[in-house]
Amino acid sequence: MDVLIQISYFAAAILFILGLRRMSSPLTARTGVHWAGAGMLVATLITFFWPGMENYLLMTAAIFIGGVAAWWTGKKVSMTDMPQMIALYNGMGGGAAGAIAAVELLRGEFNSDIFLTLAVLGALIGSISFSGSLIAFAKLQGLIRKPLRFPMQHAINLLVFVLAVVYGGLLVVSGDTAGINLLVFFGLALGIGVLKTLPIGGADMPVVISLYNALTGLAVAFEGFVLNNAAMIIAGTVVGAAGTLLTQLMARAMNRSIGNVLFGSFGGEQGTEESVEGAMKPIDVTDVSIMMAYAERVIIIPGYGMAVAQAQHKIKELMDVLLARGIDVKFAIHPVAGRMPGHMNVLLAEADVPYDRLYDLDEINAEFAQTDVALVIGANDVVNPMARNNPDSPIYGMPILNADQAKNVIVIKRGQGKGFSGVENALFFADNTRMLYGDGMAMTGELIHAIKQF
């Protein structure tokens, strides 16, 4: 049986790697997740035959409870809310790694101090990922609205971290892994995740979630060593490395370093932020519809607001109406528009907007100058010219879409508030910009209706 288990884990590891490989290309992405899924199924089923196990009834019940709850929420959640669900499921994985470590530490049967150390490390990382992901979930879900900052925050965070490491070290050195120290250790580890995530602004959440994803992978790998489980070691390490790379790619797309995200105070309450001169100039639907109906080139720039308003299907309809009039319509997708890189692509794909109408930053930025109307729907920070020309701005240096260079800029927006990063947007005050206030979906609907009149 033991050989069969090892063979199954080996097969699962191969399927995971090939699955991730396939998920890295749009043509094969769909089958990729099925390959990985097959690997997961094989590994899970064979584990029931692991020698010397008990508690099968409760185990099946636990799988059933966790599985059904996740299945149900995963099916039900709207595409808009995907990022926080990823954060939630990722947190569960981190929590599971922490739970494994807790059981093993309570049992206290370690072959060597190396395994004990790995168990403690995995527990630390997994717990941080668990509580941190839950906070990230709460933030994206809107349960926690403002970044929480207080004096001496970094010092306190550092202190808690050092304490957690000290208590972790105590567990290893004393060998007494089941006492009160264990409880303190887990409390501190969970505290780190909470304290570390609370002050981070919402705009940085994708990077943070990606980082916790990588951390969970690492925690799983460490617990894999403790349990002598090759599938966990390989899958966990692969995810840890891939997740780290992905985190770097995302941070780079926002022109920020990971350290800056974690230790900077982005979107701080006071400080260097300047107010922008001028006023926002409103416009009504009729004027916008005339402008668009007789345009030659239109570029649509979607952002998180489009996701919130569920306006992607209406936007697709608007595209069809404009195309029918012989107008050239393109979509400009900023790599970090929305709450996650690629978020907009997923939403527009859902609405059947053809893939070849979506252009990324480098492809489209030169075209704004020849564009009649740039329609900004729900995007904010990614079109803020201050990132280009105001060195004092917190988002200075972030690559942006040069929407301000279009002949006319229309911004559909619910109100006059600031973007997710809390930074004032100079684009809204520009001379060639007009603000169309209202709900993204309703306004787009009215716009379609009005354009059809011509």
């Binding site: 997740v33 690629g342 893939y355």
Partner: protein
């Protein structure tokens, strides 16, 4: 039993594999891929099952139970949302 340097080699090679496997991923796949890798570390389920299967005290059993339930949530939820996201890429080939 995986021990000592063998473990270290597995760790190193897996890390390189993970890095290489996604090094040329287009931006549009960042979110699905993050979700996909999130699903893959759902393999923690097998570890949680083993830990719970060997639990002796009630406390160990309770923590094991929570671990298994959380891990199952990670695996199943990760799969469902990744599948749903990638589902939308299906018509790309037919369209062009």
């Amino acid at each position: 039993m995986i021990e000592g340097f063998t473990a270290l080699y597995i760790f190193m090679l897996s890390a390189f594999t993970g890095y290489e496997v996604i090094s040329r991923v287009p931006v549009i796949l960042h979110t699905p891929l993050m979700s996909g890798s999130n699903f893959v570390h759902g393999i923690v389920l097998v570890g949680a099952m083993v830990a719970m299967g060997h639990a002796e005290t009630t406390l160990e059993l309770a923590i094991g139970f929570i671990g298994v339930a959380l891990a199952a949530g990670n695996a199943v939820g990760g799969f469902v949302v990744t599948e749903r996201m990638l589902e939308m890429f299906k018509s790309e080939k037919g369209r062009h």
